[in-house]
Protein backbone atom coordinates (compact mmCIF):
# COMPACT_ATOMS: atom_id res chain seq x y z
CA UNK A 1 0.00 0.00 0.00
CA UNK A 2 1.37 3.40 -0.95
CA UNK A 3 0.23 6.74 0.38
CA UNK A 4 0.15 9.64 -2.09
CA UNK A 5 -0.16 13.00 -0.40
CA UNK A 6 -2.06 15.81 -2.13
CA UNK A 7 0.09 18.66 -3.35
CA UNK A 8 0.75 21.16 -0.62
CA UNK A 9 -0.64 18.92 2.11
CA UNK A 10 0.90 16.68 4.73
CA UNK A 11 -0.23 14.28 7.44
CA UNK A 12 -0.55 16.22 10.70
CA UNK A 13 1.36 14.69 13.57
CA UNK A 14 -1.28 15.76 16.09
CA UNK A 15 -4.00 13.74 14.31
CA UNK A 16 -3.31 10.64 16.33
CA UNK A 17 -6.80 9.12 16.07
CA UNK A 18 -7.78 7.29 12.89
CA UNK A 19 -11.39 6.51 12.00
CA UNK A 20 -12.22 4.11 9.20
CA UNK A 21 -15.04 1.80 8.10
CA UNK A 22 -15.03 -1.97 7.91
CA UNK A 23 -17.12 -3.35 5.06
CA UNK A 24 -20.35 -4.78 6.36
CA UNK A 25 -24.03 -5.35 5.76
CA UNK A 26 -25.76 -2.12 4.78
CA UNK A 27 -22.45 -0.27 4.19
CA UNK A 28 -23.12 1.37 7.58
CA UNK A 29 -19.47 2.09 8.48
CA UNK A 30 -18.94 3.80 5.14
CA UNK A 31 -22.10 5.89 5.57
CA UNK A 32 -20.96 6.96 9.04
CA UNK A 33 -17.50 7.97 7.79
CA UNK A 34 -19.14 9.93 4.94
CA UNK A 35 -21.17 11.86 7.52
CA UNK A 36 -18.15 12.59 9.71
CA UNK A 37 -16.01 13.79 6.79
CA UNK A 38 -18.79 15.97 5.49
CA UNK A 39 -19.87 17.44 8.82
CA UNK A 40 -16.39 18.10 10.20
CA UNK A 41 -15.46 19.58 6.81
CA UNK A 42 -12.40 17.37 6.91
CA UNK A 43 -9.80 18.15 4.28
CA UNK A 44 -8.63 15.59 1.74
CA UNK A 45 -4.93 15.10 2.30
CA UNK A 46 -4.13 12.11 0.14
CA UNK A 47 -4.86 8.74 -1.41
CA UNK A 48 -3.99 5.19 -0.49
CA UNK A 49 -3.16 2.88 -3.37
CA UNK A 50 -3.55 -0.83 -2.65
CA UNK A 51 -3.81 -3.60 -5.27
CA UNK A 52 -6.19 -5.44 -2.92
CA UNK A 53 -8.91 -2.78 -3.37
CA UNK A 54 -11.05 -2.93 -6.49
CA UNK A 55 -10.93 0.24 -8.60
CA UNK A 56 -13.63 2.91 -8.77
CA UNK A 57 -13.73 6.64 -9.48
CA UNK A 58 -16.40 9.28 -9.19
CA UNK A 59 -17.12 12.96 -8.82
CA UNK A 60 -16.78 14.76 -5.47
CA UNK A 61 -18.86 12.87 -2.91
CA UNK A 62 -19.23 15.75 -0.46
CA UNK A 63 -19.55 19.13 -2.16
CA UNK A 64 -21.21 20.34 -5.35
CA UNK A 65 -18.63 23.06 -5.73
CA UNK A 66 -16.01 23.41 -7.04
CA UNK A 67 -17.22 20.84 -9.57
CA UNK A 68 -15.30 17.80 -10.74
CA UNK A 69 -13.02 17.02 -7.78
CA UNK A 70 -12.05 13.38 -8.46
CA UNK A 71 -12.84 10.71 -5.87
CA UNK A 72 -10.75 7.53 -5.64
CA UNK A 73 -11.54 4.28 -3.78
CA UNK A 74 -9.35 4.85 -0.72
CA UNK A 75 -8.89 8.41 0.50
CA UNK A 76 -7.46 10.01 3.63
CA UNK A 77 -8.98 13.12 5.18
CA UNK A 78 -7.98 15.15 8.21
CA UNK A 79 -9.72 17.41 10.66
CA UNK A 80 -6.82 18.99 12.51
CA UNK A 81 -9.13 20.88 14.90
CA UNK A 82 -10.53 17.50 16.01
CA UNK A 83 -7.10 15.79 15.80
CA UNK A 84 -8.63 13.20 13.53
CA UNK A 85 -7.60 11.32 10.39
CA UNK A 86 -10.39 9.58 8.51
CA UNK A 87 -9.96 7.00 5.77
CA UNK A 88 -12.93 6.33 3.52
CA UNK A 89 -13.18 3.11 1.49
CA UNK A 90 -15.53 3.14 -1.49
CA UNK A 91 -15.09 -0.24 -3.13
CA UNK A 92 -14.78 -3.87 -2.06
CA UNK A 93 -11.63 -5.82 -1.34
CA UNK A 94 -10.36 -8.35 -3.89
CA UNK A 95 -11.74 -11.78 -3.00
CA UNK A 96 -9.60 -13.51 -0.41
CA UNK A 97 -7.37 -10.52 0.34
CA UNK A 98 -9.12 -8.97 3.34
CA UNK A 99 -6.41 -9.87 5.84
CA UNK A 100 -3.65 -8.63 3.50
CA UNK A 101 -5.53 -5.37 3.08
CA UNK A 102 -5.98 -5.06 6.84
CA UNK A 103 -2.25 -5.63 7.39
CA UNK A 104 -1.40 -2.94 4.85
CA UNK A 105 -3.73 -0.47 6.54
CA UNK A 106 -2.25 -1.33 9.92
CA UNK A 107 1.26 -0.65 8.55
CA UNK A 108 0.08 2.71 7.23
CA UNK A 109 -1.47 3.67 10.57
CA UNK A 110 1.49 2.53 12.60
CA UNK A 111 4.13 4.19 10.41
CA UNK A 112 2.21 7.49 10.40
CA UNK A 113 1.99 7.95 14.14
CA UNK A 114 -1.60 6.84 14.78
CA UNK A 115 -2.24 5.83 18.38
CA UNK A 116 -5.97 5.04 18.47
CA UNK A 117 -7.97 3.46 15.65
CA UNK A 118 -11.78 3.53 15.65
CA UNK A 119 -13.42 1.04 13.30
CA UNK A 120 -17.06 1.63 12.37
CA UNK A 121 -19.09 -1.33 11.13
CA UNK A 122 -22.37 -3.20 11.37
CA UNK A 123 -23.60 -6.70 12.10
CA UNK A 124 -26.36 -8.74 10.52
CA UNK A 125 -29.59 -8.44 12.48
CA UNK A 126 -30.33 -12.03 11.52
CA UNK A 127 -27.43 -13.13 13.73
CA UNK A 128 -28.58 -11.24 16.81
CA UNK A 129 -29.20 -13.83 19.50
CA UNK A 130 -30.17 -11.72 22.46
CA UNK A 131 -32.80 -9.35 21.17
CA UNK A 132 -33.40 -6.42 23.52
CA UNK A 133 -36.04 -4.21 21.95
CA UNK A 134 -36.16 -1.95 24.99
CA UNK A 135 -32.69 -0.60 24.32
CA UNK A 136 -33.44 0.80 20.85
CA UNK A 137 -30.56 0.94 18.40
CA UNK A 138 -27.83 -0.24 20.75
CA UNK A 139 -24.13 0.34 20.10
CA UNK A 140 -21.84 -2.61 20.68
CA UNK A 141 -18.11 -2.31 20.98
CA UNK A 142 -14.90 -4.27 21.07
CA UNK A 143 -11.71 -2.78 22.48
CA UNK A 144 -8.05 -3.68 22.96
CA UNK A 145 -8.03 -1.86 26.33
CA UNK A 146 -8.62 -5.12 28.21
CA UNK A 147 -8.07 -8.75 27.25
CA UNK A 148 -11.79 -9.49 27.40
CA UNK A 149 -12.50 -6.65 24.96
CA UNK A 150 -13.98 -4.21 27.49
CA UNK A 151 -13.19 -0.53 27.81
CA UNK A 152 -14.14 1.89 30.60
CA UNK A 153 -14.96 4.81 28.31
CA UNK A 154 -17.31 2.69 26.23
CA UNK A 155 -18.99 1.25 29.33
CA UNK A 156 -19.47 4.76 30.71
CA UNK A 157 -21.22 5.72 27.46
CA UNK A 158 -23.68 2.89 28.05
CA UNK A 159 -22.50 0.58 25.28
CA UNK A 160 -22.35 -3.19 25.46
CA UNK A 161 -19.23 -5.18 24.78
CA UNK A 162 -19.74 -7.62 21.89
CA UNK A 163 -20.62 -10.70 23.90
CA UNK A 164 -19.66 -13.07 21.12
CA UNK A 165 -16.01 -11.96 21.38
CA UNK A 166 -13.86 -14.69 22.86
CA UNK A 167 -10.12 -14.21 22.37
CA UNK A 168 -9.53 -17.93 23.05
CA UNK A 169 -11.91 -19.00 20.31
CA UNK A 170 -10.13 -20.77 17.48
CA UNK A 171 -10.89 -18.28 14.66
CA UNK A 172 -9.94 -15.24 16.74
CA UNK A 173 -6.66 -16.98 17.54
CA UNK A 174 -6.19 -17.88 13.86
CA UNK A 175 -6.77 -14.22 12.95
CA UNK A 176 -4.13 -13.16 15.46
CA UNK A 177 -1.70 -15.56 13.76
CA UNK A 178 -2.55 -14.20 10.32
CA UNK A 179 -2.11 -10.63 11.55
CA UNK A 180 1.55 -11.27 12.23
CA UNK A 181 4.09 -10.24 9.60
CA UNK A 182 4.87 -13.03 7.15
CA UNK A 183 1.73 -15.06 7.79
CA UNK A 184 -0.63 -15.74 4.92
CA UNK A 185 -4.06 -17.26 4.60
CA UNK A 186 -3.81 -21.00 3.96
CA UNK A 187 -5.61 -22.38 0.93
CA UNK A 188 -7.59 -24.76 3.10
CA UNK A 189 -8.62 -23.60 6.53
CA UNK A 190 -6.89 -25.58 9.29
CA UNK A 191 -10.32 -26.40 10.70
CA UNK A 192 -13.19 -28.56 9.64
CA UNK A 193 -16.63 -27.10 9.14
CA UNK A 194 -17.19 -23.58 10.41
CA UNK A 195 -19.90 -23.08 13.01
CA UNK A 196 -21.89 -20.15 14.38
CA UNK A 197 -19.09 -19.23 16.78
CA UNK A 198 -16.79 -18.67 13.78
CA UNK A 199 -19.05 -16.04 12.24
CA UNK A 200 -17.89 -12.88 14.05
CA UNK A 201 -14.15 -13.41 13.55
CA UNK A 202 -14.87 -14.00 9.83
CA UNK A 203 -16.13 -10.43 9.39
CA UNK A 204 -13.94 -7.62 7.99
CA UNK A 205 -14.03 -5.61 11.24
CA UNK A 206 -12.35 -8.54 12.99
CA UNK A 207 -9.48 -8.61 10.47
CA UNK A 208 -8.89 -4.90 10.94
CA UNK A 209 -9.18 -5.23 14.74
CA UNK A 210 -6.62 -8.05 14.86
CA UNK A 211 -4.14 -6.40 12.48
CA UNK A 212 -4.18 -3.01 14.20
CA UNK A 213 -3.87 -4.77 17.56
CA UNK A 214 -0.84 -6.70 16.29
CA UNK A 215 0.85 -3.33 15.66
CA UNK A 216 0.35 -2.32 19.28
CA UNK A 217 -2.28 0.32 18.53
CA UNK A 218 -5.32 0.94 20.68
CA UNK A 219 -8.38 -0.20 18.71
CA UNK A 220 -12.08 0.38 19.34
CA UNK A 221 -14.71 -1.20 17.09
CA UNK A 222 -18.14 0.43 17.21
CA UNK A 223 -20.89 -1.81 15.85
CA UNK A 224 -24.64 -1.85 15.44
CA UNK A 225 -27.04 -4.48 14.17
CA UNK A 226 -29.03 -3.85 11.01
CA UNK A 227 -30.70 -5.42 8.00
CA UNK A 228 -30.20 -4.47 4.34
CA UNK A 229 -32.38 -1.54 3.40
CA UNK A 230 -32.31 2.16 4.13
CA UNK A 231 -29.28 2.16 6.40
CA UNK A 232 -28.83 5.91 6.68
CA UNK A 233 -30.28 5.97 10.23
CA UNK A 234 -27.68 3.42 11.31
CA UNK A 235 -24.99 5.56 9.64
CA UNK A 236 -26.10 8.54 11.72
CA UNK A 237 -26.16 6.40 14.85
CA UNK A 238 -22.59 5.17 14.43
CA UNK A 239 -21.30 8.62 13.49
CA UNK A 240 -22.95 9.98 16.62
CA UNK A 241 -21.35 7.22 18.69
CA UNK A 242 -17.90 7.92 17.24
CA UNK A 243 -18.20 11.63 17.99
CA UNK A 244 -19.21 10.85 21.60
CA UNK A 245 -16.26 8.50 22.04
CA UNK A 246 -13.87 11.18 20.84
CA UNK A 247 -15.56 13.84 22.93
CA UNK A 248 -16.14 16.09 19.93
CA UNK A 249 -17.90 19.31 20.82
CA UNK A 250 -20.87 20.77 18.95
CA UNK A 251 -18.83 23.61 17.48
CA UNK A 252 -16.53 21.21 15.63
CA UNK A 253 -19.45 20.33 13.39
CA UNK A 254 -20.72 22.56 10.63
CA UNK A 255 -24.16 21.22 9.87
CA UNK A 256 -27.81 21.94 10.26
CA UNK A 257 -29.19 18.40 10.40
CA UNK A 258 -30.02 17.57 14.03
CA UNK A 259 -27.77 20.46 14.96
CA UNK A 260 -24.50 19.16 13.60
CA UNK A 261 -24.62 16.97 10.52
CA UNK A 262 -24.11 17.89 6.86
CA UNK A 263 -25.58 15.38 4.41
CA UNK A 264 -22.94 14.53 1.77
CA UNK A 265 -23.85 15.80 -1.69
CA UNK A 266 -23.62 12.28 -3.19
CA UNK A 267 -26.37 11.01 -0.88
CA UNK A 268 -29.04 12.78 -2.90
CA UNK A 269 -28.89 9.89 -5.37
CA UNK A 270 -28.02 7.09 -2.95
CA UNK A 271 -31.14 5.11 -3.85
CA UNK A 272 -30.99 5.76 -7.57
CA UNK A 273 -33.32 7.78 -9.77
CA UNK A 274 -37.01 8.18 -8.96
CA UNK A 275 -39.44 5.66 -10.46
CA UNK A 276 -40.55 6.17 -14.03
CA UNK A 277 -44.02 7.63 -13.52
CA UNK A 278 -44.96 6.94 -17.13
CA UNK A 279 -45.50 3.36 -15.96
CA UNK A 280 -48.59 4.47 -14.09
Amino acid sequence: MEFYVEEGKELEQNCSTLILPALSIGNVGQLAVDLLISSLKAEKIGYLDDPNILPCVGNDAYWPSPPGDLTLPLEAYESSSSALTLVQQRSPVVKGMMVEYAKNLANFASSNGKKHVIILSSLDFGRWHTIDVSSGLQVYYLSTSNIDGTDEDCERLGWNRLQEYNPSQRMWKYLNTLAEEGSTLEEDLPFEELGDEDYYPSLPFAALFSCFKAKGLKVTCLLCYCSEGDNIPEGFHLAEAASKLMGLSQNEFHGNEAGRWIIPYSWKSVYGPPADISLF
Binding site: Y47, P55, C56, N59, P64, D69, V99, S202, L203, S266
Partner: protein, 268 residues
Protein backbone atom coordinates in the same frame (compact mmCIF):
# COMPACT_ATOMS: atom_id res chain seq x y z
CA UNK B 1 -40.68 -13.39 -10.60
CA UNK B 2 -37.38 -12.26 -9.07
CA UNK B 3 -36.18 -14.33 -6.14
CA UNK B 4 -34.92 -11.77 -3.63
CA UNK B 5 -33.13 -14.48 -1.66
CA UNK B 6 -31.01 -15.94 -4.43
CA UNK B 7 -30.75 -13.09 -6.92
CA UNK B 8 -27.44 -11.32 -7.34
CA UNK B 9 -27.57 -8.32 -5.01
CA UNK B 10 -27.35 -4.82 -6.48
CA UNK B 11 -23.78 -3.48 -6.76
CA UNK B 12 -23.82 -1.52 -3.51
CA UNK B 13 -24.45 -4.65 -1.50
CA UNK B 14 -22.06 -7.48 -0.76
CA UNK B 15 -21.90 -11.16 -1.51
CA UNK B 16 -21.20 -13.35 1.53
CA UNK B 17 -17.68 -14.10 0.30
CA UNK B 18 -16.95 -10.34 0.10
CA UNK B 19 -17.45 -10.15 3.87
CA UNK B 20 -15.52 -13.26 4.85
CA UNK B 21 -11.91 -12.94 5.97
CA UNK B 22 -11.33 -16.61 5.28
CA UNK B 23 -12.52 -16.77 1.68
CA UNK B 24 -9.56 -18.25 -0.20
CA UNK B 25 -8.09 -16.00 -2.89
CA UNK B 26 -8.44 -16.90 -6.55
CA UNK B 27 -5.53 -18.81 -8.07
CA UNK B 28 -2.87 -16.30 -9.19
CA UNK B 29 -2.61 -15.56 -12.90
CA UNK B 30 0.60 -14.92 -14.84
CA UNK B 31 1.43 -11.20 -14.99
CA UNK B 32 0.44 -9.21 -18.06
CA UNK B 33 3.27 -7.71 -20.11
CA UNK B 34 3.98 -5.30 -22.96
CA UNK B 35 5.58 -6.26 -26.26
CA UNK B 36 6.85 -3.56 -28.62
CA UNK B 37 8.19 -3.83 -32.17
CA UNK B 38 11.38 -2.02 -31.16
CA UNK B 39 14.34 -4.28 -30.35
CA UNK B 40 15.41 -1.99 -27.53
CA UNK B 41 13.61 -3.46 -24.54
CA UNK B 42 14.53 -0.53 -22.32
CA UNK B 43 13.06 2.08 -24.68
CA UNK B 44 10.31 4.13 -23.12
CA UNK B 45 7.69 6.17 -24.91
CA UNK B 46 6.71 9.74 -24.04
CA UNK B 47 3.58 10.54 -26.03
CA UNK B 48 1.97 13.95 -25.84
CA UNK B 49 -1.33 12.14 -25.66
CA UNK B 50 -2.16 8.53 -24.86
CA UNK B 51 -5.70 7.55 -25.88
CA UNK B 52 -7.03 4.34 -24.32
CA UNK B 53 -10.26 3.14 -25.92
CA UNK B 54 -12.59 0.62 -24.35
CA UNK B 55 -16.09 1.61 -25.48
CA UNK B 56 -17.53 0.12 -28.64
CA UNK B 57 -17.99 3.47 -30.45
CA UNK B 58 -14.44 4.62 -29.71
CA UNK B 59 -12.94 1.23 -30.63
CA UNK B 60 -14.78 1.22 -33.92
CA UNK B 61 -13.80 4.76 -34.92
CA UNK B 62 -10.16 4.46 -33.85
CA UNK B 63 -9.76 1.01 -35.42
CA UNK B 64 -10.58 2.55 -38.80
CA UNK B 65 -8.19 5.48 -38.36
CA UNK B 66 -5.86 4.84 -41.29
CA UNK B 67 -3.00 7.08 -40.20
CA UNK B 68 -1.75 4.82 -37.40
CA UNK B 69 1.00 2.22 -37.12
CA UNK B 70 0.96 -0.84 -34.91
CA UNK B 71 3.92 -0.62 -32.52
CA UNK B 72 3.08 -3.00 -29.73
CA UNK B 73 0.59 -4.97 -27.74
CA UNK B 74 -0.33 -5.64 -24.11
CA UNK B 75 -0.55 -9.37 -23.49
CA UNK B 76 -3.03 -10.67 -20.93
CA UNK B 77 -2.07 -14.37 -20.64
CA UNK B 78 -5.66 -15.46 -20.05
CA UNK B 79 -6.50 -14.41 -23.65
CA UNK B 80 -4.69 -16.71 -26.10
CA UNK B 81 -3.24 -15.37 -29.35
CA UNK B 82 -4.49 -18.31 -31.33
CA UNK B 83 -7.95 -16.83 -31.82
CA UNK B 84 -6.56 -13.55 -33.19
CA UNK B 85 -5.83 -12.69 -36.81
CA UNK B 86 -2.48 -11.56 -38.23
CA UNK B 87 -3.93 -8.25 -39.34
CA UNK B 88 -5.72 -6.61 -36.39
CA UNK B 89 -9.48 -7.01 -36.44
CA UNK B 90 -12.12 -5.50 -34.16
CA UNK B 91 -13.20 -8.99 -33.22
CA UNK B 92 -9.74 -9.90 -31.86
CA UNK B 93 -9.26 -10.28 -28.12
CA UNK B 94 -6.28 -7.99 -27.95
CA UNK B 95 -4.93 -4.69 -26.67
CA UNK B 96 -2.88 -3.35 -29.56
CA UNK B 97 -0.92 -0.14 -29.23
CA UNK B 98 -0.51 2.26 -32.13
CA UNK B 99 1.34 5.46 -32.92
CA UNK B 100 -0.31 8.10 -35.06
CA UNK B 101 1.75 8.97 -38.12
CA UNK B 102 0.65 12.37 -39.32
CA UNK B 103 1.33 14.43 -36.28
CA UNK B 104 4.30 16.51 -35.19
CA UNK B 105 3.79 15.16 -31.72
CA UNK B 106 3.63 11.53 -30.66
CA UNK B 107 0.07 10.36 -30.09
CA UNK B 108 -0.35 6.77 -28.97
CA UNK B 109 -3.58 4.81 -29.05
CA UNK B 110 -4.36 1.62 -27.12
CA UNK B 111 -7.42 -0.33 -28.27
CA UNK B 112 -8.54 -2.53 -25.39
CA UNK B 113 -10.59 -5.19 -27.12
CA UNK B 114 -10.78 -7.71 -24.30
CA UNK B 115 -12.66 -7.47 -21.06
CA UNK B 116 -10.24 -6.82 -18.20
CA UNK B 117 -11.61 -7.92 -14.84
CA UNK B 118 -11.57 -5.48 -11.95
CA UNK B 119 -9.06 -7.70 -10.17
CA UNK B 120 -6.61 -7.42 -13.10
CA UNK B 121 -7.16 -3.72 -13.71
CA UNK B 122 -4.52 -2.49 -11.27
CA UNK B 123 -1.77 -4.49 -13.02
CA UNK B 124 -2.91 -3.50 -16.53
CA UNK B 125 -3.13 0.18 -15.62
CA UNK B 126 0.43 0.10 -14.25
CA UNK B 127 1.68 -1.27 -17.57
CA UNK B 128 -0.18 1.23 -19.72
CA UNK B 129 0.74 4.33 -17.72
CA UNK B 130 3.89 5.31 -15.96
CA UNK B 131 6.41 2.54 -16.67
CA UNK B 132 7.43 2.16 -20.33
CA UNK B 133 4.72 4.53 -21.50
CA UNK B 134 4.99 7.92 -19.81
CA UNK B 135 2.36 10.21 -21.34
CA UNK B 136 1.92 13.93 -20.83
CA UNK B 137 -1.84 13.59 -21.08
CA UNK B 138 -4.22 10.64 -21.09
CA UNK B 139 -7.69 10.26 -22.55
CA UNK B 140 -9.71 7.20 -21.57
CA UNK B 141 -12.88 6.34 -23.48
CA UNK B 142 -15.44 4.01 -21.92
CA UNK B 143 -19.21 3.59 -21.71
CA UNK B 144 -21.51 4.50 -18.84
CA UNK B 145 -22.08 1.42 -16.67
CA UNK B 146 -25.79 1.27 -15.95
CA UNK B 147 -25.26 -0.80 -12.78
CA UNK B 148 -23.18 2.03 -11.27
CA UNK B 149 -25.15 5.00 -12.57
CA UNK B 150 -27.67 6.57 -10.20
CA UNK B 151 -29.41 8.74 -12.76
CA UNK B 152 -32.02 7.77 -15.33
CA UNK B 153 -30.73 6.02 -18.45
CA UNK B 154 -32.81 5.53 -21.55
CA UNK B 155 -31.64 3.92 -24.81
CA UNK B 156 -32.96 7.06 -26.52
CA UNK B 157 -30.59 9.32 -24.59
CA UNK B 158 -27.26 10.08 -26.28
CA UNK B 159 -24.71 11.77 -24.07
CA UNK B 160 -21.18 11.77 -22.75
CA UNK B 161 -19.79 13.04 -19.45
CA UNK B 162 -16.31 13.28 -18.01
CA UNK B 163 -14.07 12.95 -14.99
CA UNK B 164 -10.66 14.59 -14.78
CA UNK B 165 -7.61 14.42 -12.60
CA UNK B 166 -6.83 17.53 -10.60
CA UNK B 167 -3.83 18.24 -12.86
CA UNK B 168 -6.02 18.18 -15.96
CA UNK B 169 -8.52 20.52 -14.28
CA UNK B 170 -5.72 22.92 -13.39
CA UNK B 171 -4.32 22.83 -16.92
CA UNK B 172 -7.74 23.89 -18.25
CA UNK B 173 -7.63 26.86 -15.88
CA UNK B 174 -4.23 27.91 -17.26
CA UNK B 175 -5.32 27.83 -20.90
CA UNK B 176 -4.41 24.32 -22.11
CA UNK B 177 -6.97 23.12 -24.60
CA UNK B 178 -9.04 20.27 -23.12
CA UNK B 179 -8.78 16.83 -24.74
CA UNK B 180 -12.58 16.61 -24.74
CA UNK B 181 -14.62 19.80 -25.05
CA UNK B 182 -18.03 20.83 -23.89
CA UNK B 183 -18.86 17.96 -21.52
CA UNK B 184 -20.43 18.10 -18.09
CA UNK B 185 -18.90 16.28 -15.18
CA UNK B 186 -20.04 12.80 -14.24
CA UNK B 187 -22.78 13.24 -11.61
CA UNK B 188 -21.87 12.85 -7.96
CA UNK B 189 -23.12 9.61 -6.38
CA UNK B 190 -22.51 7.51 -9.49
CA UNK B 191 -19.23 5.67 -10.02
CA UNK B 192 -17.15 4.10 -12.77
CA UNK B 193 -15.31 0.89 -11.95
CA UNK B 194 -12.99 -1.52 -13.73
CA UNK B 195 -10.06 -0.70 -15.97
CA UNK B 196 -11.20 2.86 -16.78
CA UNK B 197 -11.25 3.64 -13.06
CA UNK B 198 -7.84 2.07 -12.53
CA UNK B 199 -6.36 4.10 -15.38
CA UNK B 200 -7.76 7.42 -14.18
CA UNK B 201 -6.73 6.65 -10.59
CA UNK B 202 -3.20 5.95 -11.76
CA UNK B 203 -3.13 9.29 -13.57
CA UNK B 204 -4.27 11.06 -10.40
CA UNK B 205 -1.69 9.32 -8.23
CA UNK B 206 1.15 9.93 -10.70
CA UNK B 207 0.13 13.57 -11.19
CA UNK B 208 -0.63 13.07 -14.89
CA UNK B 209 -3.24 15.10 -16.74
CA UNK B 210 -5.99 12.55 -17.34
CA UNK B 211 -9.55 12.63 -18.64
CA UNK B 212 -12.10 9.84 -18.60
CA UNK B 213 -15.00 10.25 -21.04
CA UNK B 214 -17.93 7.85 -20.64
CA UNK B 215 -20.64 7.77 -23.29
CA UNK B 216 -24.15 6.35 -23.51
CA UNK B 217 -25.61 4.16 -24.90
CA UNK B 218 -23.10 1.38 -25.42
CA UNK B 219 -23.90 0.94 -29.11
CA UNK B 220 -25.47 2.90 -31.92
CA UNK B 221 -24.51 5.12 -34.82
CA UNK B 222 -25.56 8.24 -32.90
CA UNK B 223 -23.20 7.61 -29.99
CA UNK B 224 -20.38 6.74 -32.38
CA UNK B 225 -20.96 10.05 -34.17
CA UNK B 226 -20.85 11.82 -30.83
CA UNK B 227 -17.57 10.16 -29.79
CA UNK B 228 -16.04 10.74 -33.23
CA UNK B 229 -17.01 14.41 -33.09
CA UNK B 230 -15.57 14.81 -29.57
CA UNK B 231 -12.26 13.27 -30.64
CA UNK B 232 -11.94 15.26 -33.86
CA UNK B 233 -12.65 18.54 -32.07
CA UNK B 234 -10.35 17.69 -29.17
CA UNK B 235 -7.53 15.19 -28.84
CA UNK B 236 -7.39 14.35 -32.58
CA UNK B 237 -7.93 17.86 -33.94
CA UNK B 238 -6.10 18.16 -37.25
CA UNK B 239 -5.54 14.42 -37.69
CA UNK B 240 -6.41 12.84 -41.05
CA UNK B 241 -9.20 10.32 -40.74
CA UNK B 242 -11.48 8.30 -42.96
CA UNK B 243 -15.04 9.52 -42.84
CA UNK B 244 -17.02 7.60 -45.38
CA UNK B 245 -20.57 6.33 -45.09
CA UNK B 246 -19.39 2.70 -45.16
CA UNK B 247 -17.90 3.22 -41.69
CA UNK B 248 -21.28 4.14 -40.27
CA UNK B 249 -23.10 1.36 -42.14
CA UNK B 250 -20.58 -1.15 -40.84
CA UNK B 251 -21.03 0.13 -37.30
CA UNK B 252 -24.81 0.01 -37.67
CA UNK B 253 -24.55 -3.70 -38.57
CA UNK B 254 -22.10 -4.26 -35.72
CA UNK B 255 -24.36 -2.44 -33.25
CA UNK B 256 -27.40 -4.49 -34.26
CA UNK B 257 -25.49 -7.69 -33.64
CA UNK B 258 -24.57 -6.48 -30.14
CA UNK B 259 -27.68 -4.63 -29.08
CA UNK B 260 -29.39 -7.05 -26.72
CA UNK B 261 -32.36 -4.72 -26.33
CA UNK B 262 -33.47 -5.94 -29.76
CA UNK B 263 -33.28 -9.55 -28.68
CA UNK B 264 -36.55 -10.95 -27.53
CA UNK B 265 -37.99 -14.34 -26.96
CA UNK B 266 -41.08 -13.09 -28.82
CA UNK B 267 -39.14 -13.18 -32.10
CA UNK B 268 -37.87 -16.72 -32.62
Amino acid sequence: MDDVVTDIPPPSRFMLEDLNNFTPPSPPLPSPFLVFSTLDSSKSFHPSILIIAMSSPSLHFLHHLSSKTLIGTLVLPEFPFSANSVEPLLSDKSCNIYALNDSDRLIMIALVQYSVTSERSHAVAKLLIGERIIPERVLILDSVQSRNFRGKLSPDDIFAVKLETSFERRSSDTGDSPLIKGLDYFPSGSVVDGLAASLLSRCQLKKIKGTLCVSWPHFGVSVMSLVKSLLLKGALAGINHSSDADLEDEYLRFSRSKDFHLDSELYT
